[in-house]
Amino acid sequence: MSRRVLLAPLLLLITSLAVGDTRQVRTLADYRDFRSLSIDLAGRFPTRDDLGTLERPDFDRNAWIDTHLGGPQYAARLTRIYMDLLRLEVSSAVQVTPPATTLRRIQLVGPDKKPIYVYYRRQQRRTREATDGEFCMTSAETGVELTPGQPPKGTAIEIKKEVLDANTVVVRPWWLYRDYVELTPAKRYGAEWTDFDPSYVPSDKLRKEADGSPTIEVRVCREEAQSRDTGSIYVTGRVPPPKGATPPAPRLRPLPLDDGYAKAHKGEPISCRDGLAVSMSVDCGCGIGLQHCMPGDSDGNDPGAFMLPAHSPVGLDASLPLTAQSVSVWYKYWWTQEVEHFLSHLFSDDRDFRELLTAKYTWVNGPLAQYYRSTAPAGCCGRERAFGLIEDKEPLFAQVSVPTSLFAHDAATWLTVADRGPQASGILSMPVFLAKYASRRARAAVVYNAFLCKSFASSDAELLPSTEPNLMIRPGCSSCHATLEPLAAYFSRVEESTSVYLPSAQFPLKNPNCKNQKNGKPAGFCDAFYDPAFTDGAAGTMRGAYASAENAEAGMLGIARAVTSSPDFASCAVSRVTASLIGRPLSSDDDALVRTLTDVFVHASYRMKPLVVAILRSDAYRNVNNRRNEVAP
């Protein structure tokens, strides 16, 4: 260290005494340590006032740490460690637009020759044969042809008033009215309703008509506007048309037919929140004020909906400028916010860190409540009905647990949900985790890596052609899959891509209905859920469960318990937090430190605050920048 640096505190002391300054003389190392503490615990550089605190004679470093340990920036700092690790935001490749809960709209020409918007759901069943399963008015009536996934074709013509009135109604929808549940909603967004949540901003297109005037009411197809909770299974008795027959005019596509399930359950009740209701009943709609559906500003696959910040690096309360985002982005944004809230509370409340994987509780706001109430159930049940599952019987988030007091507008109001239900398991059962890591193996691998600090490295075994379906023993694969497959088995009952839970009553691990038939293959409907490679003449084996039936039955809570009870769990958490706070990967030189800190962590019942205090008080943290011995010019 240079002589100039050594002399500097002395000069500072002499100067201070000369001017009668009562500030305590601190060394450069003291100031740098304080700056590090401020960055890590206060989330910002120290201010001049903060430096004044440091320079007070009675400044107590440990007391300062204790004071700042419970603050929001402390929680944000720890949350960042695990968000960086798990990267829990879902890419644009994932779209969340179930037909049952997505209202799309098209622009038509009204009877008064003015442009109008009409909202509708794809696949909506209607008693009118000409529009059954389609938009509620024909192309002959509107001049516009609609094909899913393609832009509308044709030139809109003036719709006759009687056609419009017969097939559509006007509604004061939830996204514009705070009091949409009232008989006559009157509190419109931005007009009578001014104290709205600043995080809740419908896009300009949802708030204005085609001519630019404010939207007071929306026009929606009549079936979509229905508000009952339970409908009935609709059966037409239609017979399949001869091969090559053209659809009956004015239809562009063939009439929907009754499937086997509908025929067998004709007229039986069906929950209108079920994803099948839109395509199996004519009396289910979006509910009062269309509250169970998400509005879109076009006929596109993922239409625009609400305004959101592209990023919120310093928190939701200081978000960056808002831009119009799609229906999918709206859901996915709040999925991420759910896990951030969960982590933030876990750290700020200093809860047992193992709850990250095992907790039954979570935090939800208005948009998430609407998602769990309406959109999540709509993900079920298509292929599952062949097994008798027509509604999500054991959802990952039980319907009864969703707070009824939350409106979809309440974006900034977060309520705790004490118990999401029997299948809930920390972040593992949250939609953002299941969508980000969409396969059983991806889910298992990330848990193994993030929480046990282990990774899969392939051996140098020669990969020979093999027909062995069991990857745990196949040469070249077994070195990783012997560990991975039993871990992946824990996720067998959570359907990949939809996150529907497959109950044992409908989906036994060994299913005789999916055994090999006379042709040596199982029935076609089995393939999505039962693995043909592990099917024999007696039963089919549920996909992913071949490695461990015990793990498959234990489910996500099983892997959570297995991982958190592993001796590697605590040392892994300690290593990750320590490495983040001292800003470098740990090496074998740090083993003693990690052992000491792990003892602290475990004895503190896996709570982070004692661990963080121990790290901040350690020499490793104080001497963190030991290569810097001179200040730059």
């Binding site: 000069l11 740098r32 960055i39 550089f45 201010t47 890419s91 310093v314 470098r584 030189d589």
Partner: protein, 222 residues
């Protein structure tokens, strides 16, 4: 011709066999103790911390308000939009699985520079031009007379040094002198420049000092 023939003969001849020999042992010059402790360089300040501190230096405003104030309406083009800077500052993009930047790069340094200039210029306008009470000044929390000697500069520079780098300027030997040289040079150039600046020479001098601190490696590293 004769030379070429010799070359061909040499090339086609049997390989020369050189027997391997052991190296002679190195001669010991001195003995010293090996330092096996872990060495660590400076860390990059997390972009979240940088942004939060930046907002604070702008007067504790919300990001949208900072963007509006930094952009201004004077055509200065000092600031684009936050979205233009976030990736450059090293923020991770979880959607794309892009990790957080742990080291600086040329684009990041350019972003630091642009943000620093916007911060300092608007701070000069807010604190020095508008002349609010000293207690309300966030960055230039001092008066800025036209005539100033090195001692007077040092007192004021210390305020900025503490604001940006978090410690007294006296602990960085030579820094007051260097920055005073910078300040004096800028003031002098502005006094003699033919083209008028929107800043007075004194304001331009303090703005340059502010640029120097807000772009200093110690501001971005810890």
């Amino acid at each position: 011709m004769r030379f070429s023939l010799l070359l061909i003969l040499a090339a086609c001849g049997p390989p020369s066999a050189i027997a391997p020999t052991a190296n002679a042992p190195l001669q010991e010059i001195a003995r010293t103790q090996e330092d096996t402790t872990t060495k660590q360089d400076l860390r990059l300040v997390p972009p979240e911390v940088y942004i939060r501190s930046y907002l604070q230096l702008f007067g504790g405003l919300a990001p949208q308000d900072v963007q509006a104030k930094a952009r201004g309406s004077d055509g200065g083009q000092l600031f684009d939009t936050w979205d233009d800077y976030l990736a450059a500052l090293g923020l991770p993009d979880y959607k794309l699985d892009l990790p957080r930047a742990s080291q600086t790069n040329a684009i990041m340094v350019a972003a630091f520079e642009r943000l620093a200039v916007a911060l300092c210029d608007r701070a000069v306008e807010r604190d020095l031009k508008a002349k609010p009470p000293l207690t309300e000044r966030v960055v230039f929390a001092f008066d800025a007379p036209e005539a100033i000697d090195e001692a007077g500069f040092a007192t004021r520079f210390d305020v900025l040094h503490r604001t940006f780098l978090g410690y007294p300027a006296a602990l960085a030997p030579g820094r007051v002198k260097d920055f005073h040289g910078l300040y004096s040079s800028i003031v002098s150039h502005h006094q003699t420049a033919a083209k008028k600046s929107r800043f007075t020479p004194t304001e331009a001098g303090w703005a340059a000092v502010c640029y120097g601190l807000a772009r200093h490696p110690e501001f971005h590293l810890y």
